[in-house]
């Protein structure tokens, strides 16, 4: 049984998936949503790099690296964007990047879970990212989600630390077309 599952897994996974693949903002979206005053709104990051070194046949050797340029945060409201870039939230002048690094992969439903560490505002916390990989011609579509607590990273200083009007939970959603490096 185990042998058959393994065989099936090997047969179903194209060898190309073993390659190192990457994407940036020109090949996908990185969105987040949070609750303000009881209503969910969505924002996005306009500049980021993703590198996935992952072979489903040997997940233990995999790694996922994401670098997000925090000044590229965009919520379709200039005033809110300024506040998000200010020292009260991302403090983009001092911490221009948010970084995620994961090397721990495990099966999760039809996809994978990558557990790693996310650094925002200089604060490093463990988080997990759920994703699926679907080959589509020359590219591989990587779709996924992650959930985090903004206050754990100090996103919301002073009065903004209150969760009465802005929820603590932030959902991250991404969809990328990964292309092989080289």
């Amino acid at each position: 049984m185990i042998f058959r599952t393994l065989l099936l897994a090997i047969l179903l996974c194209p060898a190309a998936l073993a390659d190192v693949r990457q994407a940036d903002e020109s090949a996908g979206t990185l969105n987040f949503s949070a609750i303000q005053a009881g209503a969910k709104f969505t924002g996005s990051f306009k500049r980021f790099q993703v590198k996935l070194d992952f072979d489903p046949a040997s997940p233990a050797k995999g790694s996922l690296d994401v670098t997000v340029e925090s000044p590229s945060i965009e919520t379709q409201d200039a005033e809110r964007d300024e506040i998000l870039k200010s020292p009260d939230f991302f403090w983009t002048e001092k911490h221009p990047q948010a970084i995620f690094h994961a090397t721990d992969f495990e099966r999760a439903g039809s996809g994978w879970r990558a557990s790693g560490e996310l650094t925002i505002r200089g604060v490093k916390k463990p988080i997990a990212v759920q994703f699926t990989l679907v080959p589509a011609g020359a590219v591989t579509v990587m779709k996924g989600t992650a959930s985090l607590k903004r206050l754990a990273f100090g996103l919301g200083q002073g009065d903004w630390a209150s969760t009465e009007w802005i929820g603590d939970d932030v959902d991250v959603r991404f969809e990328l077309k990964l292309t092989p490096i080289g």
Binding site: K40, E79, S162, W165
Partner: protein
């Protein structure tokens, strides 16, 4: 002849809410973005949607329980009163709807008292946000003008013509 208690209650509820709305809206409009503004606008939106709901109920109720006939007055005054009333009803829809669309366009979706999130009929769009913001303000000016006229006319009937028109919207006595 008076309006029924339901119609009267709904009328005065809207009056009270409008006073609150004008106050909240004008304070919030002059605040920089912060928790205070978020909180004031959250309530402003919730009350606004409440007014929209009451406006629907009032129209339905008006159809179920017809308004009493007005006191005798010149034909033009009756026409003017009708025009004013229906314009006020139109504004009770136009104000919250323009605010709702403005909220959607500016990516600050509307929640009714944190209980229900309202759908967005338009996505975030700065151009549309400016348009609905302007409309919301324009409708507010119409509202001030028409409410002023409405109140002035009611007081004129009550205290100059002495035809007891104001009692139609006040409790007490037989209908």
């Amino acid at each position: 002849m008076r309006y029924g208690y339901v119609a009267q209650t709904l009328h005065w509820a809207v009056v009270t809410l409008l006073v609150v709305q004008v106050t909240l809206g004008n304070i919030a409009d002059n605040l920089p973005l912060g928790l205070e503004k978020l909180a004031l606008l959250a309530r402003h939106k919730s009350f606004g949607i409440t007014i929209l709901g009451i406006a629907v109920i009032r129209l339905a109720w008006r159809w179920i329980d017809r308004p009493p006939p007005p006191p005798p007055m010149p034909h033009w005054q009756r026409l003017a009163a009708n025009l004013n009333h229906w314009s006020l009803y139109a504004l009770l829809f136009a104000m919250p709807l323009s605010g709702w669309l403005m909220s959607s366009a500016s990516n600050y979706p509307v929640s009714w008292f944190g209980l229900v999130q309202l759908p967005d009929f338009i996505g975030p769009d700065r151009g549309l946000k400016d348009i609905f913001h302007e409309l919301h303000h324009l409708f507010a000016w119409f509202l001030y003008a028409l409410v002023g006229l409405h109140v002035a006319a009611a007081l004129k009937h009550q205290f100059v013509d002495r035809d007891g028109l104001l009692f139609r919207m006040l409790p007490g006595g037989p209908r």
